[in-house]
């Protein structure tokens, strides 16, 4: 049976991708941030997951505002990325697994999560930056992927509670796949940042540190927050943290924090890295 070997969180802001592409990972400005990933990369090298479910949001590449799905899952053999006007080079396309994707879709829809199903899907920096920061300079990705897109752009957004429940359903869906696979679930985005309005530049370190703690120890407390609570505390773009709750829901109630790292600022963002495993 497939099993979840761990959950990872990471920011996905374009500046991270540009720093990697520009060879700046060891620059004094960037080293403290990228060093936060070293234990996660070592864990990935040791555990060698077969598949990553990447929970991310599209910023206007695959989806435009004409049609915005609340939740959408890829079911393609390949996920290309391409120019989306953010100045990032194209990386190698991600390799999909239609068999697993369709199993997850069937299980989730049966579980009352009515996803949009995507047999063609381009993935932008929301997806690619996490791949690049976890497997830097890969010429081909060492595992297959299932993209799970969550709407964090066009309000109304799904609530933190809904996202946490989606994660629970995702966990059940993965656990019911008959093949022996090691699956890692990656929650992307955040942490606190606001790119718009007079309040642009908001970073809320105390909130971020609280979130990093509670996502492991008491995710239900975070799931009780409203979208408004998140926007107010973490910023209009920091609301992406709802995607961390999808990752967390997929794991067991009790988890062990294998690694935790926080760095401010990365571009205009508080950046948090977490590696969780189900507690024995």
């Amino acid at each position: 049976m497939a099993r979840i070997v761990g959950g990872i969180t990471t920011s996905h802001i374009p500046a991270i991708g540009k720093a990697i592409q520009g060879g700046k990972s060891n620059d004094p400005d960037w080293k403290p941030f990228f060093d936060g990933y070293l234990p996660v990369r070592a864990w990935l090298d040791a555990v060698k997951p077969d598949v990553a479910v990447v929970v991310y949001n599209d910023h206007g590449l695959n989806f435009f505002l004409d049609q915005i799905p609340t939740f959408a899952m890829g079911a393609a053999k390949e996920y290309p990325n391409c120019d989306s006007g953010w100045g990032l080079d194209e990386g190698p396309p991600a390799r999909g697994t239609p068999e697993l994707s369709w199993h997850l879709i069937e299980s989730l829809v049966h579980d009352e999560f009515d996803l949009t199903m995507c047999q063609e899907m381009k993935v932008d920096h929301g997806f690619m930056v996490p791949m690049s920061v976890l497997w830097p300079h890969a010429t081909e990705w060492p595992l297959q992927v299932v993209p799970l897109a969550v709407n964090t752009v066009q309000h109304p957004l799904p609530s933190p509670a809904r996202c946490y429940k989606l994660g629970k359903a995702l966990g059940r869906a993965i656990a019911s796949y008959p093949e022996d696979l090691k699956v890692v679930v990656i929650g992307t985005g955040g942490m606190s940042h606001q790119l718009q309005g007079e309040r642009a530049g908001l970073i809320n370190k105390p909130f971020d540190l609280m979130f990093l703690e509670k996502i492991a120890s008491d995710p239900e407390a975070l799931a009780r927050l409203s979208v408004r609570d998140l926007v107010e505390a973490a910023g209009s773009e920091g609301v992406e943290l709802i995607m961390w709750l999808v990752m967390r829901g997929a794991l067991d109630d009790k988890v062990a924090t294998i690694h935790r790292h926080y760095h401010v600022p990365v571009s205009s963002t508080g950046a948090g890295v977490l590696l969780l495993e189900n507690a024995a």
């Binding site: 505002l65 120019d83 100045g87 007079e198 209009s236």
Partner: protein, 118 residues
Amino acid sequence: MTWTSHDFDSIPGTYVFNGQRSAMGYPLNRMCMSFNTEENREAFLRDEDAYCAKFGLSDDQRQAVRDRDVLRLIKLGGNIYYLAKLAGIFRLNVQDIGAQQAGISVEQFKAMLVAAGE
């Protein structure tokens, strides 16, 4: 018909991208979506206002594009992720447009971000 109000309307300096803003900003955001290709970015630079007109931007939106006024574009329904594609054409990054909207210099903006980590 009236637009319904929301609990997030009271958060200062924050323009949550709801249906009302998305409806108002649709032509503007649609234009920004076109900037996913280099060809369209070049076409915009050849004749900015004609390009804006082609996508049906309002007079106010066209003026705000001319003025590079991101806060005004936000108030006119622009979504920041889409406006970032426009700002990229002007070689402005998220710190540049953040500082502009907050009404401070880029240096002050960066100092504010660093201070947030202390």
